[in-house]
Amino acid sequence: MMHYLLIAKDGKVQFSHYFTHVTPSARPALEARVVGKCQSADKEGCHFLEDGEHTLVFRWFGPCIFLVGADHQENELMVYEFLGLYVGALQRYFGKFSERHLLLSTDHLHMVLEEMVVDGELVESSIKNVLAPIQMLDAASSR
């Protein structure tokens, strides 16, 4: 199961979502360590890193790094694919996902993620199904 998802740019965490609780006071240290680790890894190199009890799976999208801390038992490639799926969902939702969205629409990022992952497990692998409720609510609130 996945424990957290972070999005960082230039080594700074822009977005974090925790599936299992980490005390807020411990988060900055964790985030700094983990992001630093991934940041310093070779961009062309392997995208899986060991980090204590978790395996870090990260993926670069432009200048942003998407990072998931998962159990060792989790299939790394699956998590890697999931990151692609998540970004795909965000692309489809925003039209074109850019840093501006990352900065200003964190709530939507949370929403999309919550539709896809419950309790650290992927629930919905169909982008269409993920976005359907969100788009509907958007339509309802704009009315």
Binding site: M1, V13, F15, S16, H17, Y18, F19, T20, H21, T23, P24, S25, R27, P28, A41, D42, E44, G45, C46, H47, F48, L49, E50, Q73, N75, E76, L77, M78, Y80, E81, L103, L104, T106, D107, H110, M111, E114, V118, D119, E121, L122, V123, E124, S125, S126, I127, K128, N129, A132, P133, M136, L137, A140, S141
Partner: protein, 1248 residues
């Protein structure tokens, strides 16, 4: 009030929203913290307002700030306020905030129970969805206990959106409230066959997580998962299922055998790398669990290794990494097949990615053989030379040592080479593994007697060049530890030294004082040993000059150590100074003291077994907790502690080193040794170490194995040319020459001890002393206690629950029904259950009346509810929209696995999955199923609920307190049957009618009831008949995984002769297909023989492409009678649309949800003006013949529900008037299906 609202809205306009906050933070980069603290103040004022919109906005901002690392725990209560908002957009903000900042110990959570329950039960599915998602993050034990039942209710929701989220939440519920696992498990299991792939996959996820921790409890689910695996095309889910199998196979090797084939097929066919990787992983797990007895065992290994090679060769570094990772798993059991790919692994060592290099190193560890070890180590040393970063170099060093030392130096054939490697490693700058090298040096020196002399020589050189090793860079490394080993080895085996005096001189040289205390202490002590040796030999040779020299040397140098700051060094040094002066005095008197001195150090070191200390039996009567003296007063305690601190503060650095940490004074030592010797001599259990120990001191000219060593790493005697370190010689020849040269040099210096026997270099084995070591009496190394090594507080410990045991009546989820109206309605079924168990038989009549009243009340409530929900039109509008969107896009975007395996699904699908794992597993072994096995299937098919219930009952009877209840329960059941018998005028023999009214209310809420539902037996129809054979058949729709119709055909032999060779020839039609063992053949043969009058039953499965129209299949049955007469019997299998219906998932809530959701667009009805049947007969016919389930029945009206194989819903309302006028109204999602179903019902009702 209105004014206030307007005012609130006005104020709101000036508030910052989240976007403003983000922009603000970016615009105030320099003064960020100031800006944020200002925002915090604003937020605090916003939170004090009554307007929920303002509050929600504030909480949204807080959530963002929390993400930036600011503490918002003070706002817990405000978050709850926002969570409880009736407006969904606010509620979502609240839940999101809660999910990110609440945790299970958050105190305000106590307040949320009822609010969350309300949200879970909300009509708006998004309310419940949000609550489910949020709850997963912060659920605690109390919430789990209180809400478990509500979550369970959501499992039965009509909306897959909620079902899947509820299923996933269950995992957390189980973790926090393990008692819920058993009562909830049957429902969770059901979800594996949910029509919605999302729900299925959620259930798989949960069970996969559960099973990973306690696999043995989930073995019985293997058949279900197997079926899912062979039928699913959802790669995300397949990965999880296959992972689950990986956890199960170690427990059940037969399962592994069954898995191998489909998995290898998947490996061949899939294009998804993640799936491929998972398959390989599981195949590896399988192969590990079945080490032998597989015919194509090697083929599978080869396949895996091959595929992994492709992964490793891929340019994608991720695949490379995973390939290496998986390879290392194979390595453990099948090293040979991996060793073939050594080239590839070595290649990876050169990869620029460090994590890949590390993985490759892991692999190397296992790939070493006697032949390859030298080459591999040479490559690694080469690497180390070039490697950047001390971290990686350290890792390399450690790996080299691990590779060489594994399994008691299994792969080392030439220990001189190994010693050279270790010496070489000493030269590595800044390593943290000095201790490791030192350990290895000592280990080899002590245990490999043959190479001891060589080692001692090398160590002497090391000591001589200590200043090079302990260079300026040594401060941050632990390389000095090597000197610890070197000095000890030289001291202990002083008799092997070429030039003891020179070594002694190098030991006392100045630099030593800068070494860590514990190393100095060893130095000092070993000086004494060396001294002793020199004196003893010099006395023998009457070399007074030598004696004089060394004595003076020590007396001159030792005072430095006497004044050492280290307690240990000081103590030993002063002791030795005394001994040396004493020796000097003796010599001045002309006495020879050599032998006495040697006695100080006599005795051979014996290895002690690693667990020896633990195994020392506790002496009888020893109580370590008992006070020896009266407990001291507290003040004394403090003093004591202060005192202790003072003493031990200097000791700390030595605590790591076990050897020679504490050394008694020499006199003491001698005494102790003598005592020990005496003890050993008289101890019958003490195994005298005859040969080895004698060697220790008496051996003078031991033959040293000196053979031409093919060193890939040149032997460099350290110190001679200190700066040109690691001068690697690539050529074979060159290294050889060099080696010879050096060897000669060395042997010259060896002095009298070594006979330079380079020429007769016989391949003498260098034996490692691999004794277990000394153990206390009666203890064995093997008796180990392998208990559950999980920590006590691991929640998964509590989840180790046997799930196959039938549920006890008290095992129900806790419900809170006494104070909340809403929840009472929901949990009524449970209450009902309690009533059932508590009721005593003589209350029978009154009860049934009461029941009726209740039912009426309830139905009214139900109606009201329907009205209410229709009033909430807006909600439902959204719902409808959503539902259709979901249905339409169900299969969209799911990655499709390439072709599925031919023949696999057929192989297993002819029989219904039984719970009997053994049977399932053995099935593949026995190709033609024996007669009794088929019987077994039949038994499990139809009687499983009963069978499952009885053993449980009997078990519980032994507990007297519960047994009474149980009996009552039983009586009740019997009663209900009787009651139903009264109602039905003409009892149909084959169909046992259960009293539905007993069960309908509990539908879907309590497990026992759903089990009893399955007892309803379908109508048995005549299939074909002649004078000899009669065939009856019944159909049952198995909606769920395979969407199959199960047809059980009963063969009744009406003659007195036995019949054999029964073969059913039943060609498929275009849309109805039989699931066959052999897909090519249209003939199904039955292996058994029917003796006269015997009856047998067989099950066939069919899949229908279109389940909205009735189907027919024609064929014939051929058989041979005892007297050899062959006959054919024409067969006509009819499948009315109702055969595709199943009411298994019916429940009142889903039913009303369905009706109110408006999905049921198709309507149809018919009326029979004067039916000849009674109401109950009609109901019987509709429910059994039509395979629908009665959802509700009031007086002469009943509503029924059924779902088709392809997931169409059918709802019927049956109205019966006393005059015999019967009206059946139907609603469905599928028009053709409905009209066909009603047509069928009409004709069958008319015929009766």
């Amino acid at each position: 009030m209105a004014l206030r609202k307007v005012k609130g809205n006005l104020e709101r306009m000036f508030d910052k929203n989240l976007t403003d906050l983000v922009r603000g933070i970016r615009n105030n980069k320099e003064t960020e913290s100031k800006y944020i603290s200002q925002c915090m103040e604003e937020i605090k004022t916003e939170l004090r307002q009554d307007n929920l919109a303002v509050k929600a906005n504030a909480v949204a901002k807080l959530t963002y700030l929390q993400m930036l690392g600011y503490d918002i725990s003070w706002a817990g209560f405000n978050i709850i306020e926002v969570m409880s908002s009736p407006k969904f957009t606010y509620k979502r903000i609240g839940y999101l905030s809660a999910s990110q900042c609440f945790h299970q110990d958050t105190e305000v959570l106590m307040l949320t129970t009822n609010m969350i329950r309300k949200d879970l039960n909300s009509h708006n599915m998004y309310d419940s969805g949000t609550a489910l998602t949020g709850l997963a993050c912060f659920i605690n034990g109390d919430l789990a206990r209180d809400l478990a039942n509500d979550v369970m209710t959501l499992l039965a929701s009509t909306k897959p959106y909620l079902r899947k989220k509820a299923v996933l939440l269950l995992y957390k519920v189980f973790l926090k409230f393990p008692e819920a696992l058993r009562p909830a498990f049957p429902r969770l299991k059901e979800k594996l066959e949910d029509p919605d792939p999302g729900v299925q996959s959620a259930a798989v996820n949960v069970i996969c997580e559960l099973a990973r921790k306690n696999p043995k409890n989930y073995l019985s689910l293997a058949p279900v998962f197997f079926k899912l695996m062979t039928s699913s095309t959802n790669n995300w889910m397949l990965i999880k299922i296959i992972k689950l199998f990986g956890a199960l196979t170690p427990l059940e090797p037969r399962l592994g055998k069954k898995l191998i084939e489909p998995l290898t097929n998947l490996i061949h066919s899939t294009s998804a790398m993640s799936l491929l990787y998972e398959c390989i992983n599981t195949v590896i797990a399988v192969l590990i669990s079945i080490s032998s007895g597989m015919p194509n065992h090697n083929a599978s290994i080869q396949l895996c290794v091959q595929k992994l090679r492709i992964l490793i060769e891929d340019s994608d570094q991720n695949l490379k990494y995973l390939g290496l990772l998986a390879m290392s798993k194979i390595l453990k059991t099948h090293p040979k097949s991996v060793q073939a790919h050594k080239d590839l692994v070595l290649q990876c060592l050169d990869d620029k990615d460090e994590s890949i290099r590390l993985r490759a190193l892991d692999l190397l560890y296992g790939m070493v053989t006697k032949k390859t070890v030298m080459e591999i180590v040479r490559r690694l040393m080469n690497h180390m030379d070039r490697a950047e970063g001390t971290m990686y170099r350290d890792e390399l060093l450690q790996k080299i040592i691990l590779i060489c030392s594994q399994n008691n130096f299994q792969y080392i054939t030439n220990f001189e080479w190994y010693i050279s490697v270790l010496v070489e490693l000493c030269r590595m700058e800044g390593t943290q593994h000095g201790g490791l090298i030192a350990n290895q040096l000592m280990d080899v020196a002590i245990r490999v007697v043959a190479v001891r002399e060589f080692t001692v020589g090398q160590m002497a050189l090391l000591l001589d060049n200590a200043h090079v090793i302990v260079g300026p860079a040594a401060a941050r490394s632990s390389i000095a530890e090597v000197l610890y080993a070197a000095s000890w080895i030289c001291g202990e085996f002083a008799q092997l030294l070429a030039n003891p005096k020179a070594t002694l001189e190098s030991m006392v040289r100045g630099k030593v004082v800068s070494l860590p205390g514990h190393i100095q202490a060893t130095y000092v002590h070993n000086m004494l040993k060396l001294y002793t040796h020199i004196i003893a030999t010099a006395e023998e040779e009457d070399d007074a000059e030598m004696i004089q020299e060394v004595t003076n040397l020590l007396l001159e140098r030792l005072p430095v150590f006497v004044s050492s700051g280290d307690l240990e060094v000081q103590e030993r040094a002063s002791c030795i100074v005394q001994i040396v002066t004493y020796v000097q005095k003796c010599h001045q008197h002309g006495d020879k003291i050599g032998p006495e001195l040697s006695a100080l150090m006599a005795g051979e070191l014996n290895p002690v077994a690693p667990k020896a200390q633990k195994k020392v039996p506790l002496p009888e009567g020893l109580d370590l907790d008992a006070w020896i003296n009266d407990p001291p007063s507290e003040s004394e305690d403090e003093e004591d502690e202060a005192y202790k601190k003072e003493i031990f503060v200097k000791h700390e650095s030595t605590s790591k080193h076990k050897k020679e940490k504490y050394e008694p004074t020499e006199e003491e030592l001698q005494k102790l040794r003598e005592v020990r010797k005496a003890e050993q001599a008289s101890n019958p259990y003490y195994v005298k170490n005859s040969a080895a120990s004698v060697q220790g001191f008496t051996r003078v000219d031991q033959e040293v194995a000196v053979e031409p060593i093919y060193l890939n790493v040149p032997l460099k005697i350290p110190g001679m040319t200190s700066m040109d370190k690691y001068q690697m010689v690539d050529g074979w020849q060159e290294s050889n020459k060099k080696r010879h040269k050096k060897h000669k040099k060395r042997s010259k210096r060896k002095g009298p001890h070594s006979s330079s026997d380079e020429e007769d270099a016989g391949p003498q084995a260098q034996v490692v002393n691999t004794d277990v070591g000394e153990m206390p009496e009666g203890a064995h190394l093997s008796d180990d206690n392998d208990a559950d090594d999980r920590p006590d507080d691991d929640p998964h410990r509590a989840l180790d629950i046997n799930l196959d045991e039938p549920l006890a009546p008290n095992e129900v989820l806790p419900t809170r029904s006494h104070y909340e109206v809403k929840s009472r309605r929901r949990s009524r079924s449970d209450d009902k259950e309690n009533i059932l168990t508590n009721e005593v038989s003589h209350k029978k009549k009154s009860r049934s009346k009461k029941d009726k009243k209740e039912k009426i009340k309830k139905s009214k409530k139900e109606e009201r509810k329907v009205k209410k929900s229709s009033r909430k039109g807006q909600d439902n509008l959204i719902l409808d929209l959503e539902e259709t969107v979901e249905d339409a896009s169900r299969t969209d975007d799911i990655p499709i696995a390439a072709n599925h395996i031919n023949g696999i699904s057929e192989e297993n699908s002819t029989e219904k999955p039984t719970d009997d794992l053994d049977f399932w597993l053995s099935k593949s072994d026995s190709v033609p199923p024996a007669t009794d096995e088929v019987d077994e299937v039949r038994a499990t098919d139809t009687e499983s609920p009963m069978a499952a219930a009885t053993p449980g009952n009997e078990e519980r009877k032994s507990k007297t307190s519960k047994s009474k209840k149980e009996k009552k329960n039983k009586k009740n059941k019997e009663k209900s049957e009787k009651k139903s018998k009264k109602k039905v005028k003409d009892e149909v023999e084959e169909t046992v009618s259960r009293n539905r009214e007993e069960y309908e209310e509990t539908n879907g809420t309590v497990m026992q009831e759903s089990e009893s539902q399955a007892m309803s037996q379908p109508v048995v129809r005549l299939l074909a008949q002649d004078s000899v054979l009669k065939l009856m058949y019944s159909t049952a729709a198995m909606d769920g995984v395979m969407s199959e119709v199960l047809v059980s055909i009963k063969f009744i032999n009406q003659s007195s002769k036995s019949i054999s060779k029964l073969e059913l020839n039943l060609p498929d039609s275009s849309s109805l297909k039989m699931v066959r063992i052999d897909p090519q053949s249209e003939v199904v043969s039955f292996p058994w023989e029917l003796s006269g009058g015997e009856a047998q039953e067989a099950n066939l499965s069919f899949t229908a492409a279109d389940d909205t129209i009735p189907h027919k299949l024609r064929g014939f049955l051929s058989y041979t009678q005892e007297d050899g007469v062959n006959s054919d019997l024409p067969v006509r299998l009819e499948f009315p649309v109702t055969a595709f219906l199943s009411g298994k998932t019916a429940s009142r809530t889903t039913f009303t949800d369905l009706l109110s959701s408006g999905q049921l667009s198709a309507r149809s009805s018919f009326t029979l003006p004067n039916s000849q049947l009674s109401f109950s007969e009609v109901l019987e016919e509709v429910s059994c013949g039509g395979s629908m389930e009665v959802v509700e029945c009031v007086d002469q009206t009943a509503s029924l529900y059924g779902r088709s194989l392809h997931g169409h819903h059918v709802c019927l309302l049956v109205k019966y008037q006393e005059s015999g006028r019967l009206t059946i109204d139907g609603k469905s999602t599928e028009g053709t299906l409905l009209s066909n179903a009603l047509d069928h019902l009409k004709t069958s009702l008319m015929q009766k």
